[in-house]
């Protein structure tokens, strides 16, 4: 039986790679999930039959308890809560990595391991694991709105962060050089946990897609480091895949905001920009009613809908889908323009619209939709703000200058559904609202889109 264990690891690694390969397209993606599940099953069976494992009771109890929590979580979680769920799952994964590292450390807390590779790998793994754990918990709390999503900054913040990081690294080195210093170990864990909190507290809600992706990467790298420490190639492979995935997503998110990692992590973006907005009193804003919007949409040839986080907050995706169905029935071509950082995690808008039965062919990426926008009769902005802000393109002094935007302002006419004229998340003034081809539809996104859809299906007005 034991001769088969290495082959189980090879089979599991292969299946994980196939799993990611099949994720390339929606038509094969579910096969990817099956491959991942099978790989995991093989890996777990391989671990259980390993000759070193003699006590199964606790393992089985913990697995049953884990499944008892995980299954209802998976079945009941509303799609709007996917970013929070992702954040909390990073916390769970990173905690598991940290705890396994701690157990391994106590096993190796003898003088003969001083300065050995295993100890160094363990310290690195635990630092990454524990900081990712608390960082993900803070990200979760911000996404769940248990904490304010505005960035928190205070004077001396960078100094404090630097001091905590330096202290954690110093203590880790002291332990690695002499593992018998077990009194220092809780100090090390505490510092890593505190550093995780400090790392995410200053980051605002709009930067969450990058942060979640980065934490995903950290969790993967921690798993890989554990593979190095335990001498387990399967963990190295799975961790490297996860680490690469999170890293690429984080890079995509940063590019979509024209910002660097350092700027996202240490920028305190929203707080700085909030003071800039203002001086917009004398400009004219045109507003329209649901009836007027419906009439114009009905007569359009092509309509591009630009959804943003506001659509998720208002839970308007089902009404948006009704609008899509109604317009499609009338022969209007409707496309959705998806900005990579729209929402609170990579792909957030796609999941919500897919849930509302919008076919995925209609969901178009930023680079592919922009050339079509000048020919579009109507662009309809639902709960998006910074991702359609023309000043990112036109004003080199704007706080978001150079950020790629969906060029909704180039459409023949533009509707913006918005609660009021308050500035968006980043607090940056958006000139698109004052353009002569823009009409504002003031109201809750869900009610307003519902009212327009009702007009189009001949159900009369739902909003006055």
């Amino acid at each position: 039986m034991n001769a088969l264990v290495p082959f189980a690891a090879i089979a599991a690694s292969t299946l994980f790679i196939l799993s990611l390969m099949w994720m390339s397209h929606p038509s094969t993606a579910r096969r990817g999930v099956r491959a991942g599940e099978l790989g995991m099953l093989i890996a777990i069976v391989g671990a259980l039959v390993h000759h070193e494992v003699v006590d199964y009771n606790l393992i089985v109890i913990a697995m049953i308890a884990g499944a008892a929590v995980g299954i209802p979580m998976a079945l009941l979680m509303p799609m709007t809560a996917i970013p929070q769920r992702t954040a909390i799952s990073h916390a769970f994964g990173a905690l598991a990595v940290g705890l396994i590292g701690a157990a391994e450390y106590y096993k190796h807390a003898h003088a003969e391991f001083a300065g050995s590779f295993v100890i160094w790998a363990l310290m690195f793994e635990m630092a990454l694991g524990f900081l990712t754990c608390t960082a993900s918990l803070i990200a979760f709390a911000k996404l769940q709105e248990l904490l304010g999503s505005r960035p928190v900054s205070f004077s001396g913040q960078r100094f404090l962060n630097g001091a905590v990081a330096l202290a954690a690294v110093t203590v880790a080195i002291l332990i690695a050089l002499d593992p018998t210093r077990t009194v220092l170990f809780p100090v090390f864990v505490g510092l890593a946990l505190v550093f995780g909190i400090l790392l995410v507290v200053p980051i605002g809600g709009a930067d969450m897609p990058t942060v979640i992706a980065l934490l995903n990467s950290y969790a993967g790298l921690a798993a890989s480091a554990m593979g190095f420490a335990l001498g387990n190639k399967l963990l190295i492979v799975a961790g490297a895949l996860d680490g690469a995935s999170g890293f690429i997503l984080a890079v995509i998110m940063c590019k979509a905001m024209n910002r660097s990692f350092a700027n996202v992590m240490f920028g305190g973006f929203g707080a700085v920009a909030a003071g800039v907005a203002g001086g917009k009193d004398d400009r004219v804003v045109r507003s329209a009613s649901a009836e007027e919007a419906a009439m114009q949409l009905e007569n359009a040839g092509t309509v591009v809908i630009v959804p943003g986080y506001g659509m998720a907050v208002a839970q308007a995706q089902h009404k948006v889908s009704e609008l899509y169905q109604a317009l499609t029935k009338k022969g209007v071509e409707v496309k959705f323009a998806i900005h990579p950082v729209a929402g609170r995690m990579p792909g957030h808008m796609n999941v919500l619209l897919a849930e509302a039965n919008v076919p995925y062919e209609q969901l178009v990426e930023l680079d592919d939709i922009n050339p079509d926008l000048p020919q579009a009769d109507v662009a309809m902005i639902i709960g998006a703000n910074d991702t359609v802000n023309p000043s990112a393109r036109d004003d080199p002094n704007s706080a978001i200058a150079g950020m790629p935007i969906i060029e909704a302002d180039r459409a023949k006419s533009v509707f913006v559904i918005k609660r009021s004229m308050n500035a968006g998340f980043a607090g940056i003034d958006n000139p698109i609202y004052y353009n002569s081809n823009t009409q504002m539809l003031f109201g809750d996104a869900k009610d307003m889109v519902g009212a327009i859809a009702k007009e189009l299906t001949g159900g009369g007005s739902g909003l006055h």
């Binding site: 994980f16 990611l20 390969m21 994720m23 390339s24 038509s27 579910r30 999930v33 991942g36 790989g39 995991m40 890996a43 777990i44 671990a47 390993h50 494992v53 006590d55 199964y56 606790l58 393992i59 109890i61 913990a62 697995m63 884990g66 499944a67 995980g70 299954i71 979580m73 998976a74 979680m77 769920r85 992702t86 799952s89 769970f92 994964g93 598991a96 990595v97 705890l99 396994i100 157990a103 106590y106 050995s116 590779f117 295993v118 190095f228 387990n232 963990l235 895949l241 996860d242 690469a244 995935s245 995509i252 998806i338 995690m345 990579p346 792909g347 999941v351 897919a354 076919p359 995925y360």
Partner: protein
């Protein structure tokens, strides 16, 4: 074992490279499910948790830490794969 086994670095670099190539090809449509899938796959650390908890001579402390780790990893892998599948089920082509 006091030094780095170069085999591990070899495996890490190749796996990272494969990861980069594969992830670059994933449609941006599926970035949310991708993240929950990779998160579920990373829960393979359960393998380490199982050996920490179940090995002969595990101390009560190691068992306690290990059990919590098995629990956390199980939550992740079960909910990760299931939620990924739930999300992917919703992505339908036109006319379905």
């Amino acid at each position: 074992m006091t030094a780095l086994n170069p085999d591990y670095l070899f495996v890490f670099i190749l796996a990272g490279f494969v990861g980069f190539q594969l992830i670059k090809k994933v449609s941006p449509l599926l970035h949310s499910p991708l993240m929950s899938l990779t998160n579920a796959i990373a829960a393979v650390v359960i393998v380490g948790a199982i050996s920490v908890t179940g090995e002969a001579g595990a101390t009560p402390l190691a068992k306690t830490l290990g059990v919590v780790a098995v629990f956390c990893a199980t939550v992740n892998l079960v909910s990760g794969f299931m939620i990924t599948d739930r999300m992917l089920k919703m992505f339908k082509p036109r006319g379905k």
